[in-house]
């Protein structure tokens, strides 16, 4: 009994610290929004885009520090410029999307590193690259909450329009939507959420936040609305769990979140009802028994056909 209550006390300990509760809630929120966006990203084959944006914000952050501006503003601005730059170059050159993404984001990252190396004290690069949710300031919390709330609201209103524009550009136009404008809206949201995610998991792992939940949910359903719901649940719970457990493991929040997301993905990969490996095997087995049944039926038909002929 003593042992039991000691375990409970230990498990509840993180909630005694305000910074932990804050970290858990903020992570869950960021995880949910990133998961929402991930559904679109993976379907468009833009998975790399998350990575690109996360790296592209570095010069913006560095410049913002230099000029004494809020760091999120700098990050957001350079993220947007990179995203639009990518679509713009893509439109003009007919190069494949991945080539353009690689080109643009390494350029941005290089510029960022250059600025940082010229002004060595100006930025704590490690906190951008690895994130540090446990040390998040109240100011940043407010920032993240505002970004996430606005993004969620817009996505909630526009998710079907975005889906149509991404699924079938020309039909979207024929019902009076403007796919180009929707795409820009999406990039703005993605940049904003990347900035928010930087705080929780850092630049290197943002890509997991905006890819894995969507990829997992994709295996579990054939409906886009359901996919978004599942992805958000996965994103929010793994993020909260990662933040919570990082209390016991001293600060590896980003790593933990991503490990949990990967575990969920693996589970879906094996057990998903329709697209999982086990289901595929079951289907193969069912097929072979169906073939047996089918050939029996065929024989039956042949027989009855013969009978008809003889009676006629």
């Amino acid at each position: 009994m003593m042992l039991f209550s000691a375990v409970i006390d230990l498990l509840l300990e993180p909630f005694a610290y305000q910074y932990m509760t804050k970290a858990i809630w903020v992570s869950a929120l960021v995880g949910a929004v990133c998961a929402f966006l991930s559904c679109y990203l993976i379907l468009k084959g833009w998975a790399l885009m998350g990575d690109a944006l996360a790296h592209s914000v570095v010069p913006g952050v560095a410049l913002a520090y230099l000029m004494g501006l809020p760091y999120a503003l700098g990050a957001f601005t350079s993220g947007i410029i990179a995203a639009l730059g990518i679509s713009f170059v893509r439109r003009l050159t007919m190069l494949r999307e991945d080539a353009v993404i690689g080109l643009v984001f390494t350029t941005f990252f290089a510029i960022g590193l250059l600025i940082v190396s010229i002004n060595p004290t100006s930025v704590n690069v490690q906190s951008i690259v690895l994130g540090n949710i446990l040390a998040i300031s109240d100011e940043d919390v407010v920032q993240v909450i505002i970004i996430a709330a606005i993004s969620l609201a817009i996505l909630g209103l526009k998710w079907k329009d975005l889906m149509l524009a991404f699924f079938d550009d020309s039909h979207a136009r024929s019902v009076g939507l403007n796919p180009w404008r929707l795409r820009v809206l999406f990039f703005v949201l993605l940049s904003a959420c990347t900035v928010a995610a930087l705080q929780t998991v850092g630049a290197v792992l943002v890509i997991a936040m905006v890819v894995t939940p969507g990829a997992t949910a994709y295996l579990l359903t054939d409906r886009f609305g359901v996919m978004i719901g599942l992805a958000m649940i996965i994103g929010a719970t793994t993020s909260a769990l990662g933040a919570y457990l990082s209390f016991f493991m001293d600060g590896a929040t980003g790593g933990l979140i991503v490990v949990f997301q990967t575990l969920v993905f693996l589970a879906a990969f094996v057990f998903a009802p329709k697209h999982g490996r086990l289901a595929a095997r079951r289907a193969a087995r069912a097929f072979s028994s169906e073939v047996d049944a089918g050939s029996r039926e065929e024989n039956a038909v042949k027989r009855s056909g013969l009978e008809e002929e003889t009676t006629a």
Partner: protein, 312 residues
């Protein structure tokens, strides 16, 4: 045996598929347009024609004659470098915003792995009728049910869109155009890759919609079925070679000009056909499986309508 699909089609269009009252008169006006691609190919040159309500008009021409280009221009995807297009008297973009035009392209440029079901795709046709939240009302669901029923795809409504055969996919996108309930429907080769039964079902449906006052513009290679269901014809090769009522426009001479010797041309007359001095002769023109058959005295030949439906 008469198929279920055919029976459904012989009904008059039900309310939810027909256009709302107080509607604009459908029309297409093309005034001397020239359309070029970015590589400098002028695919359409100085083309003009005019179509009105209660019409099924065929667009006939060889491969590469610019039929698809013309459709894309009517949809505003390409902008003419000179001349202009008016739809129901409105500029193209205004007409699209009002949901006046539905379009089924020659081949769908969509991601077949997208997690949407057949019924979700057809529902996309209704977006123009919904409020900005895109919540389907009862009338929208009804229109979807009916459209699916009409193309004989009701049994597949819960399938993921990629899990269909080529012809079935085509039928789904036709259903979406039907569900859209537009006054003007543009069909770019709707009959390639669909079976004869479906083709006659679609034709019956087009007739019903014509009787409802709509305007259908259909590009096709099936010369034989043109006199059967089209009241107007536009013969096209980069420009309008001839256009007008089928009986006077769809003649051997015009077709020979449009196809420039690319048609198989078989003529039987005199002693090959008749034992007496009968002047009538048979002419068969074909570029694929559905030939055009003309019979009668020289220059007074009539279209022989192929026997459709039950016999095939």
């Amino acid at each position: 045996m008469k198929s279920r699909v055919l029976e459904i089609h012989s009904e008059t269009p039900a309310r939810s598929l027909s256009a709302p009252s107080g509607r604009l008169m459908p029309s297409i006006q093309v005034n001397n347009i020239t359309v070029s691609y970015t590589n400098g190919v002028a695919a359409v040159r100085n083309a003009s024609f005019k179509l009105g309500a209660s019409t099924i008009c065929a667009l006939v021409g060889v491969n590469g004659s610019g039929k698809s280009t013309l459709f894309k221009t009517l949809m505003g995807f390409l902008t003419p470098s000179s001349g202009d297009v008016r739809i129901a008297g409105l500029p193209v973009n205004t007409a699209l915003k009002r949901g006046l035009v539905a379009y089924v392209p020659q081949s769908e440029d969509v991601d077949w792995n997208f997690p949407v079901l057949v019924e979700d795709v057809v529902m996309m046709g209704r977006y123009g009728h919904m409020s900005f939240l895109r919540m389907p009302a009862k009338s929208d669901r009804q229109a979807v049910d009916e459209a699916l029923e009409r193309v004989g795809m009701s049994d597949y409504r819960k399938r993921q869109i990629g899990e269909l055969s080529g012809g079935q996919k085509k039928r789904v996108f036709l259903a979406r155009a039907l569900a859209q309930g537009s006054e003007i429907i543009l069909l770019d080769e709707p009959f390639t890759g669909v079976d004869v039964k479906t083709e006659s079902a679609i034709i019956d449906l087009l007739r019903a919609m014509r009787d409802d006052g709509r305007l259908m513009f259909v590009s096709t290679h099936n010369l034989g079925s043109v006199p059967d269901f089209c009241d107007q014809v536009v013969l096209f090769n980069k420009t309008v070679l001839a256009y007008g009522p089928t009986a006077t426009t769809f003649t051997e001479a015009n077709l020979a000009e449009a196809f420039g010797g690319l048609l198989r041309h078989v003529r039987l007359g005199g002693s090959d056909l008749h034992d007496d001095a009968d002047q009538r002769r048979v002419t068969v023109l074909t570029d694929d499986e559905r030939p055009l058959v003309l019979y009668g005295e020289r220059d007074q030949e009539k279209h022989i309508k192929p026997d459709r439906g039950g016999a095939s």
